[in-house]
Symmetry: C3
C-alpha cells in the first residue's frame, strides 16, 4: 500500500488508509478475533491503527492490547495512534460533565495510561483530541515535548484543531505537530474551503480524515444533500465501475493535501474493498460532479 | 495584587484587574469624591485606569484629570490607558455621523488632547479604539511610533481588533502592540473559540476584557442564555462559596491568555468584592459547567 | 493617470483604473471599433486591459487580438492581464460540467492559448481565476514559475482567492503574487472587514476590484441596501458635485489598499467620466455615510 511520509519528519509515515478502532468494544470480538482482524489489515498494508483513551467508554485500548499480547511481534509492524484531552463521564470516574483537559498533568497521565492499557512501550503518535478553550500552550507543549524526549511518544499531533489552534500550540513546541485528524467527507466538505486543508498543505501537516463516509449518511442518509450524493455515486459507479464506498474514498484521496482516511468497519470484506481503490484516481470531472451533488450547486 | 507583565516589554505591566472609567461622568462625583475612589482602588492594588477620549461625551478624561490634580503624586502609582480613533457626534463638534478616524493627524491630536485634558505628561498606553476600514497602516504606524519616541505615549495597543487587523498594523510598527482590549464574558465567549484569544496568547499580547459581566446581563438578563448562566452561578455560588460576580471574574481569570478584566462600578464595595477573587482559582469542571450554561450545550 | 506600482516588483505597474473586457464579445464591435475603444482608453491613461480565457464563451481574447493586430505598436503601451483555471462548458469543448483545473498542464496550456489568441508574446499578468479545492500548490507553483522564467508571463497573481489560498500558493512559488482580483463594492463590502483587503495591504498585494458598481445594482437595484445607497449617492452628488458613478469609484479609490477598480463599459463617455474622478478624494465623512447606507447601520 502507498504510504504517507511526513515532510516534517522523514522517518515518520502512516499507511495511506488507516484503521479506526473507536467501535472495537461494540464488536464484542474475542481477543483472538481482534488479532485476526489486525493481521488481515496488516496483510492489506493497513498498518496505522487509530485509538483514543475514551473510545468504547475507555475500554478499546485495553481490548486492543489484549489482542496484541497474543502476538507481540505485530507491534513492530504497526503505527499506534492514541488521543487524549477529553474527560468523558463514565462509571470509571466521577466527572460532573464531559469536558476537556489539556493540562500537562492530565495529558501525561493519559498517555501513560494508554501505554499501560495497550501494554506497549511507546505510542507512535499522540493527538490532542479536541481544542480546549483553556489550553495553556506553554504547559501543554512542555508536557508533549517531555513525552517525546522521554520516549513514551514517538511523535505528536492534534485532532479537530483549526489553524489558529495549531499555530498557538506549535508556537510553543520543540517538535513539529505532524498530523491533524479532522472530519472530512463529501457531506462535511467545509475543510476543503475554509482553510483547514490549505493550512495542512501549506505547513505539510498530514490530515487524517475521520468519518469519511459521514457515518454512513453518504450511502443511506435521507437528507437532501445525501440523496443527491447517492444519485451521483450511482451514476459514477456505473460509468467508472467502482463501488460507491470506493468512490467516496477516491474523492478524499484525490485531494492534494494527501490525507489518510480512517476506515471503521469491523468487516474485512469492506476494508479490502476500500483498500482496493488505491491506485484508481478519480477523474477531475467526476470529482467535481460529486462536489456539485454534495453542495447542490455548481462552482462559481 | 497580581500584576500582568508584558512578555513583549518587560518593563510594562498592568494590574490584573483594571478599572474602567467610561461612566465616570454619569456618577456626578465631585473631584474630591473621584479622588477618593482612585485612592481606594490604588489601595486595593488596582493601578490601571482605562479611559478614552470619547468617554462621557468627551468629558471623562477631564474629570479624571481634575481629581488627579488634587493629588498629583498619585500619577506615579498608576497606569493610565486612553483610546482614540472614534469620532462621536457631540455638542463639541459638528460631525455628520459617528465614524472612525485612524489618520496620523487625528490620532496624534487626540493623544495630545487626552494628555492635556488629564494634565499629565505621558499616557502609559494608547489604544486605537476600533478597527477603521480606512486604516492606512503605514500612516498610523508612523504616528504611533512618533508618539512613543516623543515620549507622549509609553506603549501602544489596540481595541476590538481582530487578528488580521493586529497583523496589519503590527507589520508597519517599530514598537510592539502590547494590548488588545476586547469584549469577553460568558455571554460573549466567541473570542475564546474564534482565534482572538489564541492569537493574543500566541503573540503574547495582553487581552483586556471589557464588559466582563456583559453589561450586567450575566446577573439580571432575561434571555435564555442569561437565565441558564444565572442558574449555574447560583449553584456554584453555594458549592464554592463565591459570589456570582466573583465567579464571573474567576471564569475570565482562569483563561490562559492571562487577561485583565475591566471593572466599571463606581461603588467600592463591589470593586473590593471583585478584587477578592484573585487567588481563588475556579476548578476546571466549574469552568466548563458555566461554559455549558452559557452555550446551552455540552462540549463536542 | 495615477499608476499603481507594485511594492513587490518595482518594475511592475497598472493604471489606477483598469478596463475589464469580459463583455467585449457582447458589444459586437468590428475590430476597427474595438481598436478605437482601446486607443481612447490609452488616451485617458487606462493602460491595463483585463481578460480571461473564458470571457465571452472563450471568444474575447481573440477579438482583442484581432483589434490589436490592426495596430501592433499599441501592445507596448498596455498591460494585458489574463486569467485561467476555470473550465466552462461550451461548444468548443465537451466538459460535463463547469469546473476548475489548476493543474500545471492546464494552466500552462491555457496561458499559451491566450498568447496565441491575442497574438502576443507575453502576458503582463496571469491570474488563477478561482481558488480550486484541488489546487496542488507545488504543481501549480512550478507551472507558474516556469511560465515566468520562460518569458511567457511577466508576472503572476490570483483572483477571488482568500488569504489562506494566497498563503498556500505563495508558500511554494519563487515569484511573488502581485495581484488579487476580487469583487468589492459598496454592496459587496465584506472584503473591507473580513481580512481580505487587510491581507493585501499587509503583504503589499495590489487588489483589483471587479464589479465595482455591483453589476449596476448601486444605481438601479431595488433591494433595500441598494435603495439606501442610491439615496445617499443622490445627496452626496448634490453636495459634492460628483456623479453617482464617480462617487462609487471614489469610495473604492479612497481605501488605503490602493486598489484598481475595473470598469466594464463599452461607452467611452462613461469611461471618461469614471477616470475624471481621480484626484478628487472623497471626504472621510462622506465615505462613512455611504458605508452606513450600504450596511444599514452606524459603525459600532
Amino acid at each position: 500500500m502507498q504510504r504517507i511520509q511526513s515532510s516534517l519528519d522523514r522517518s515518520f509515515s502512516l499507511s495511506r488508509i488507516a484503521m479506526g478502532l473507536w467501535r472495537l468494544a461494540d464488536w464484542k470480538y474475542t481477543s483472538q478475533q481482534t488479532l485476526e482482524l489486525l493481521e488481515q489489515l496488516l496483510g492489506l498494508g493497513v498498518t496505522t491503527f487509530d485509538l483514543a483513551d475514551i473510545y468504547g467508554d475507555y475500554r478499546c485500548e485495553r481490548l486492543f492490547g489484549d489482542a496484541l499480547k497474543l502476538k507481540p511481534e505485530l507491534r513492530g509492524k504497526m503505527e499506534i495512534v492514541s488521543k487524549c484531552g477529553i474527560k468523558l463521564m463514565s462509571d470509571n470516574n466521577n466527572y460532573a460533565l464531559n469536558h476537556y483537559d489539556s493540562s500537562g498533568t492530565h495529558v501525561t497521565a493519559a498517555a501513560e495510561s494508554s501505554l499501560e492499557n495497550m501494554r506497549i512501550e511507546q505510542l507512535d503518535l499522540l493527538l490532542i483530541h479536541r481544542p480546549d478553550p483553556l489550553m495553556d500552550a506553554d504547559e501543554l507543549a512542555e508536557a508533549l515535548d517531555r513525552l517525546v524526549s522521554g520516549g513514551k511518544v514517538r511523535a505528536v499531533g492534534v485532532s479537530n484543531f483549526l489553524p489558529h489552534h495549531v499555530q498557538l500550540l506549535q508556537s510553543r513546541l520543540s517538535v513539529p505537530l505532524l498530523v491533524n485528524q479532522i472530519e472530512v467527507s463529501m457531506l462535511q466538505s467545509a475543510p476543503l474551503f475554509d482553510g483547514q486543508l490549505d493550512y495542512c498543505q501549506r505547513e505539510r501537516i498530514i490530515p487524517m480524515a475521520w468519518s469519511p463516509f459521514a457515518g454512513g449518511e453518504l450511502f443511506t442518509g435521507s437528507g437532501e444533500a445525501a440523496r443527491r450524493v447517492q444519485a451521483c455515486l450511482e451514476e459514477l459507479s456505473r460509468e467508472l465501475d467502482m463501488e460507491p464506498q470506493q468512490l467516496a474514498l477516491a474523492w478524499l484521496l484525490k485531494h492534494p493535501s494527501n490525507m489518510a482516511p480512517l476506515l471503521g468497519s469491523g468487516r474485512v470484506s469492506r476494508l479490502r474493498n476500500g483498500v482496493a481503490v488505491l491506485g484508481r484516481e478519480l477523474p477531475r470531472e467526476a470529482w467535481f460532479r460529486l462536489l456539485r451533488a454534495a453542495r447542490g450547486r455548481d462552482v462559481d
